[in-house]
Amino acid sequence: MQTLADIDDTGLLALVAERDEAALRELVERHSAWLMLRLKRRTPDEDLAHEALHDTFVAVWRQPQAFRGDGDVGAWLWGIAIRQLISRLRKRAAPTPVADDVLTAAGPVVASAEDELLVAVAHGPVGDALKTLSPELVQALQATVIDGLTTKEAAALLGIPQGTVKSRVRIAKSRLREQLIGLEGLT
């Protein structure tokens, strides 16, 4: 008899779909820590991060079949978590219902092959170039590029108008482009 600890995340989701609470509990134990760390990087309000984490697993329980089986469950979970955080930010008083579109829109899926590229980015010229951007520009890039949010979602997360998100992303990209061209002598 294999234990829950031996089952991978996709298998656990299948069990959750069969209304297995123990499987959801295993997912909570595996994923709470990193999701919480990352949520806390997106909001200074720890209570809000906790609520978003709670909502995330409730959403998983209600619609585990929304995971389409492609890519990593972790990336899918983050897609839900960041959107739950945004919902909470929009309406702090009441608990947020889980909309279907939250689940289906969730998740930039990351293949592990991209990791090497990321290491190169962090320690290469792009990393250096990023350091020269203002925190506002970096936040806008982070929300749209790293978290894969739409302009509207990013605006809600950062508490700025959509137009501002767009212009900050545009400025950040053009700065990065200028610097990279300057560094590598591209035309």
């Binding site: 760390l37 329980w61 990321l118 350091k131």
Partner: protein, 263 residues
């Protein structure tokens, strides 16, 4: 597979928020896809106690009935919706309202020259029946009110409003469907309000359907004797005054005594 993993000093800096943006982005993107690093994260996250317990409490709590969920988005407190949704009777009540409205249309159309009389007899009673259905015996107001940390008046008003939200538009539509009613289309509103309140007041003593029966009988008596006077200003003011008085009685009854009446 990658051999790169997040190392201890990077975790510490990430948790503290002191990583530079590029490193932070690469940690996040890597961790989302790396089970090993996700397990390692547990050592650096402040333990979030009770996450599972809270999630379990939420998922085992019954959800609101589907028709009520959109209302929560409109800012109606969940507690109020639970009170409304606690009765299966609310859908019965809505069905009664619609069926009653349709039956009234039919009866009014068939009544020929006595069309006005039929309209005045039936239409004001549709909201009464619908409200009464919302308080039906299978889930009597008393049973809800006693263990609920909400005032009985609030429960009564919430459920009556939920019933009327469907009953009043359904009934009002009759005035437009049936031709030739003229001013009658609005005459019924105040009497009907009075009848609903009267039924609720009686329901503090009597069974819901008995209360409805008494109210209906009184209304039939009123209409058959003075139906031609109902659209006068005096009559309308009288009904308004009556409704106000009944509202006061209802408040007194529900805040001082048990609601639900004798079994």
């Amino acid at each position: 597979m990658t051999v790169w993993h997040v190392e201890a000093p990077v975790w510490t800096a990430y948790a503290a928020g002191t990583l530079d943006p590029a490193a932070e982005a690469s940690v996040e993107t890597h961790v989302a896809g790396c089970a090993e690093c996700r397990a390692a994260a547990r050592a650096y996250a402040a333990p979030a106690p009770g996450v599972w317990e809270a999630v379990q409490a939420t998922i085992t709590r019954p959800r609101l009935p589907r028709p009520l969920r959109p209302l929560r988005r409109l800012g109606i407190p969940e507690g109020d919706l639970v009170v409304i949704g606690a009765s299966d009777a609310i859908t019965v009540s809505w069905a009664v309202a619609v069926a009653g409205a349709l039956a009234s249309v039919l009866a009014t159309t068939l009544a020929g020259v006595r069309q006005e009389l039929a309209f005045l007899l039936l239409v004001p009673l549709v909201p009464v029946l619908s409200v009464v259905a919302a308080f039906d015996a299978t889930d009597s107001l008393r049973e809800v009110a006693e263990p609920t940390p909400v005032s009985k008046l609030r429960v009564a008003l919430l459920r009556a409003s939920a019933a009327l939200a469907i009953a009043v538009p359904a009934t009002a539509a009759i005035g437009f469907v049936v031709p030739g009613l003229g001013s009658l289309t609005s005459v019924w509103l105040l009497p009907s309000l009075g009848l609903v309140l009267a039924a609720l007041v009686l329901h503090t003593w009597l069974d819901a359907w008995v209360a409805a029966g008494v109210v209906s009988a009184v209304w039939v008596g009123v209409v058959s004797s003075v139906h031609s006077e109902l659209d006068t200003v005096t009559a309308q003011l009288l009904f308004a005054a009556l409704a106000a008085a009944l509202a006061v009685v209802l408040v007194l009854r529900t805040t001082t005594l048990k609601l639900g009446g004798a079994r």
